[in-house]
Amino acid sequence: MRHIGFLTAAALALGAAATAASCARTPPRVLTVSGSAVGREGDLLRRQIERFARLHPSLTVAVRATPDAADARHQLYVQWLNARAVDPDVLQLDVIWTAEFAAAGWITSLGRFRPPVDDFFPAAVAADRWRGALYALPWFVDVGMLYRRTDLVPDSPRDLDELALLARRAQDVGGIPYGLVWQGARYEGLVTVFVEYLGAFGGRILDDAGRVAVDSEAADKALSYMRDAIHAEGIVPMAALAWQEEQTRLAFQAGQAAFMRNWPYAYALLQDRSQSSVAGRIAVTPMPGAPGGAPTAALGGSALAINTHSDQPSDAYALIDFLLQPEQMIERAQVVGQYPARPALYATRALAEALTVSPSDALEVIARAVPRPTTPVYHELSQILQVSLHRALTRQQEPCPALREAAAAMRALLARVQLTPPGS
């Protein structure tokens, strides 16, 4: 008993020290928001929050800085939310986290605030739903797109075969080392690249009924195509198997590749003459399709959600509503190049002036956007797939058995977790 008493005392002392260190939560109510708080993105968020605070003089709003790396931010959120912290009130979520956080009861359903869901891209809203209820609202959308050097390849490829042909020709005739670069390291980015090839051949990760479909013929074709692009045709460099977004961008902006698959953030950087040698010579299109499928863009981006244990959910919603207003989204597009989640804005002159890329080009890609599976066990599901994809791409396994193994493991996972909704 004395031992337990001592433990309790120690825990209380630690708790008291922690409270004393962070006692911001005193009478004037502090609304906290967490998200990317570094660089231009952080400055922008703070600026917009100041404007919000001026409209709501009774509130004090503060930014809780979180790591920029997705995995690190995820870990921190889990620590906070699992400990039922009331802070932060508003959370910036990666599009693939919403279902996990909603199922765990960490974020609150937004239905009671009657959000104008029809104003946002349906694919983005779909990713923010869990069991029919809405748990987050899309802040900005990210889509995987095909960047092309217009001086080497004037016209966009009609399908994947033509893409391979043009990439090869650029290597042979244009004398550049790589035809195409994409993110081939074993991480979430590889799954987004695969989603695009998969869609091109008409495949899916999960079918409409939520059943695993990565051992389909289309998936085998997609993965074989990716592997052959590296090992048979030599269009994609072997080195790309360890590359994430920035390595591909650096190779492309140094003029080493004819095509690149990347997210919208790269566009403004590539057009910046102070660092890019390909400025003024690039264009974007959706990744092309193949027989049996359609051009597909992986959907990424961020959503805003409210902490279940927040003690001021309506103020939190007011802040979300403010950050999702057209003016804020356009400012975001202008400062950090992130695409607004409201389709209506793409016809406006304001967005055309804010974005480096033409809004119609962007919209063409967004129209092809496909979300990744919405499930609380997405992380684990994705990692099974990442390992198998990477094994096939690094020739440790043939695509077909690799995908069959992945499908079996994914089925076992979904069966094991038996996703029963809360309360049923």
Binding site: H3, F6, L7, A10, D71, H74, Q75, V78, N82, E100, A103, A104, G105, G184, A185, R186, Y187, P237, M238, A239, L241, A242, P376, V377, H379, E380, Q383, V387, S388, H390, R391, L393, T394, Q396, Q397, V417, L419, T420, P421, P422, G423
Partner: protein, 307 residues
């Protein structure tokens, strides 16, 4: 290890003495209990439950050894176990041999001993993450220094981190580079404990350097060798940062070690129960290994010490 209190052969003052000793030791024992025993017990308890943060509605039911049973049939865990064993074998062998050579060389140094010893210890002083990042840059494809050097030598370098076998080379090299100085320092201390006159006597009896090394240096260095071996083997068994930074366990899961897999299960998949079971298995293996090391070799090594 605390010596047991003296047997209660004598009068009551002995018992009082013993009680007083325990009272004095109590704070230290309390701290050990709090920071070592309590977390271990908690982890064992957790490992017997289904605890998945993603599905709080499942509660935390007691599931007995189900998590252990799953681990034993989990191909990825068994692979990770094999990878870790291979890593331990490779790095410890290299570190012990290189460390011994380095220690012998340092022991012979006549001049600038302090300076050179400090310089040798530098890799050990650099934070592992920083060192691992530097090594990753060296082996980066296609622009890394390692590739440039191999090309100059007329060889075709592999794409290190996209090759299931070649990816081990940078990992092992980085670990050996980083920790050989530590082994060397431990062995150097052992070497300097050896009485010079033994060597002089052997030389007079006509023993050559190799014979002296075999018959004098090695046996007398055994305790230091054992300590260095245990430290390194246990450290290598728990290897995390070098792998996390350099390959992340890839390509595929070809370089995934137990620590990396356990981290993934707990911190990314949020499976606390299963992850705890993995941790307990790792702990048990390391514990038994340390125990066996100390029992089998330790007793002899500590008894035979010349004093």
């Amino acid at each position: 290890m605390m010596p047991p209190p003296p047997a209660t052969a004598g009068g009551s003052w002995r018992r009082d003495e013993a009680r007083f000793a325990w009272a004095l030791a109590l704070p230290a024992l309390g701290v050990i209990g709090l920071v070592a025993l309590f977390p271990i017990a908690w982890t064992v308890w957790e490992s017997l439950h289904l605890h998945d943060l993603r599905m709080p509605w499942l509660g935390r039911p007691f599931v007995g050894v189900a998590n252990y049973a799953e681990a034993m049939t989990d191909a990825r865990f068994l692979d990770a176990l094999a990878h870790t064993a291979g890593f331990v074998a490779a790095t410890v062998t290299l570190e012990m041999s290189a460390g011994l050579v380095l220690a012998l060389a340092l022991d012979r140094l006549a001049r600038a001993r302090g300076l050179i010893r400090t310089a040798v210890l530098l890799p050990w002083a650099i934070p592992t993450v920083v060192a691992a990042l530097a090594w990753r840059f060296i082996f980066e494809s296609p622009g890394g220094v390692a590739n440039a050097a191999l090309v100059r030598l007329g060889m075709a370098p592999p794409t290190w981190f996209a090759d299931a076998a070649a990816a081990w080379i940078p990992l092992v090299l980085a670990d050996v580079w980083k920790t050989t100085p530590f082994v060397a320092l431990l062995l150097l201390a052992g070497l300097q404990n050896i009485d010079r006159s033994l060597h002089d006597a052997a030389a007079i009896d006509g023993a050559g350097p190799w014979q002296q090394f075999r018959q004098i240096t090695l046996p007398l260095l055994a305790p230091a060798l054992l300590v260095a071996f245990l430290f390194r083997a246990l450290d290598a068994f728990r290897v995390f940062d070098v792998v996390y930074v350099m390959t992340g366990g890839g390509p595929g899961s070809a370089t995934e070690t137990i620590a990396i897999y356990t981290f993934t299960v707990i911190m990314q998949h949020l499976r606390f129960g299963f992850g705890s079971a993995l941790s307990v298995i790792v702990f048990a293996v390391a514990f038994l290994f340390a125990l066996a090391g100390i029992r089998l070799l330790g007793g002899r090594a500590f008894e035979d010490r010349p004093s």
